[in-house]
């Protein structure tokens, strides 16, 4: 009888853990991507060109100078890749960053800050 209770309790606990795991890996997050000027203290990172953006290997599209685009990311770990476009041609110059989001977080990514490796390239909000 006791063994049966232990097995059933373990089974319920395992199912709850699986539920939490599924929640974490399936949770949708909004990722806003800015190609705009950003000031961090005295330094200003200026948007100077157009970029093609991929989030988790999904192409989000072209973001021109001063524009914003949005992406939906699923799960915890994510990757953003931006590639410069000059005179309507991809330059091949890619910048890649990885980031993690908690279950209730959304984020705004600033491309000029990201390519300059500024700490403020990502702004997470609940």
């Amino acid at each position: 009888m006791r063994k049966r209770i232990i097995i059933r309790t373990a089974l319920v606990a395992a199912l709850i853990l699986i539920g939490i795991f599924l929640y974490a890996i399936g949770k949708e997050h909004k990722v806003l991507i800015d190609n705009r000027d950003i000031s961090v203290g005295d330094i200003t990172y200026s948007a100077s060109t157009t970029y093609v953006v991929w989030v988790d290997n999904q192409e989000i599209g072209v973001i021109k100078k001063g524009e914003r685009n949005a992406a939906i990311a699923i799960g915890i770990s994510h990757k953003i890749v931006v590639e410069e476009i000059k005179s309507n041609v991809l330059t091949g110059e890619k910048h890649e960053k990885r980031f993690r989001l908690k279950t209730n977080e959304s984020t705004t990514i600033n491309i000029p800050a990201m390519i300059n490796n500024a700490n403020e390239w990502i702004n997470k909000t609940n």
């Binding site: 699986i18 599924l22 929640y23 890996i25 399936g26 949770k27 949708e28």
Partner: protein, 384 residues
């Protein structure tokens, strides 16, 4: 399960016609309707493949209660409600893709078990009248479901997603978009044959359920369910807890129906919150009966034969109706008429068989008594 011995004296051809009246009528109807509809073979195959992956699970959920002698389980609607509650939660939490479907299955399982348990208890109090009780129970539970979803969600149960919440701040919208989980199972392993998408994973899941049902029949519980289905008193004398076994069969059916509804809705990609579940029982039962099943006997081939015939009829009837009468709407009416009609016809046929069977049994006993009393008279022994 009791073998139908209705027409022992009839010739085998007539017996076959009586036993398979419904599938034969449907095959003839379909054979006439397909050329009238003018639909291409490719279109028909694509539609049938879609419906095969969409509906099989729900129909397979009906088999266990038939094994237990409880007839067609109209209370699978309760399982469908549980599945929809799971889908409401994952939509609110914005869990998308395959994890969303799996989480919906996980959330809805305990709800389906609870509802199945309640249904089992109620049906145990209505032995011999399980089908009509199940039908009414589905209506009753629909009221509670609507109360919970329309007033409880957002008020007592926290729901915050404005996409599914009514503007007044509580209650769920009439239609929910499941675009984020649409066909995630069906397209998990993309395979196209001749331009027709084959939902490999869904078909594998259905095949796994078929294997499970075959295996389940051979397990101890499966054997107990079959004995209960044959005769409650014999089962009780054999030491089987009849009430518990019947409850378990309804719980299994309800849980499978819950999964079936989730598979169904992930294929469609949107959900009618207040009406999506209500017709589930009728259509699944109609399809099973079209496949040649009876209230007392149903198996896996019945599921697939019925599904193909019933849904081919569904696909072709509007076009056939338009070709015949000049109105597609007529075909739509025909669908509903056929669904309810086939259930009524099968139930009437079953009742007629039972009556004839009883009459035959009675005649047999009377003849036996007559013969016995005659032999007693001639030998001078005690009268019967």
């Amino acid at each position: 399960m009791k073998k139908q011995s209705l027409t022992k004296t009839m010739n085998p051809g007539v017996q076959f016609l009586i036993n398979y009246a419904v599938p034969i009528i449907f095959t003839i109807l379909v054979a006439f309707a397909i050329p009238l509809s003018g639909l291409s073979n490719e279109y028909l195959v694509r539609e049938i493949m879609t419906r095969l992956s969409r509906d099989s699970f729900l129909i397979l959920a009906l088999l266990v209660p038939v094994m237990a002698g409880m007839g067609m389980n109209f209370s699978i609607v309760l399982g469908a409600m549980a599945g929809q509650i799971g889908l409401i939660f994952i939509t609110d939490w914005q869990i998308i893709g395959l994890p969303g479907v799996l989480l919906a299955l996980l959330i809805s399982t305990p709800i389906a078990i609870l509802l199945g348990y309640i249904a089992g208890i109620v049906l145990n109090h209505a032995k011999g009248r399980e089908m009509v009780t199940g039908f009414m129970l589905a209506f009753f539970m629909n009221g509670i479901y609507q109360l919970v979803v329309l007033y409880g969600m957002g008020n007592i149960i926290p729901i915050s997603n404005s996409r599914i919440l009514l503007p007044r701040g509580y209650g769920i919208r009439n239609a929910i978009s499941l675009v984020d989980i649409r066909q995630v199972l069906d397209k998990l392993i993309p395979l196209k044959i001749g331009g027709i998408l084959i939902p490999v994973v869904t078909l594998l899941v259905i095949a796994a359920l078929c294997v499970f049902i075959i295996w389940f029949k051979k397990t101890k519980l499966g054997q107990e369910i079959r004995i209960v289905g044959q005769d409650n008193d014999v089962a009780r004398i054999s030491g089987i807890n009849v009430e518990r076994t019947r409850i378990l069969s309804i719980v299994i059916s309800t849980v499978l129906a819950c999964y079936g509804q989730i598979i169904f809705l992930q294929n469609i990609g949107n959900m009618n919150t207040y009406g999506g579940h209500s017709q589930v029982g009728v259509f699944a039962i109609a399809a099973l009966l079209v496949g040649g099943a009876t209230v007392a006997k149903a198996n896996i081939p019945n599921v697939f034969i019925g599904l193909i015939l019933f849904h081919t009829m569904f696909v072709v009837s509007p076009r056939a109706g338009r070709a015949l009468m000049g109105q597609a709407q007529l075909g739509e009416y025909f669908r509903v008429f056929v669904s309810y009609g086939v259930i009524a016809f099968s139930l009437a046929l079953y009742a007629w068989r039972k009556r004839v069977e009883k009459e035959n049994e009675r005649k047999k006993i009377m003849n036996y008594r007559k013969a016995f009393s005659q032999s007693s008279n001639t030998t001078g022994g005690n009268k019967f």
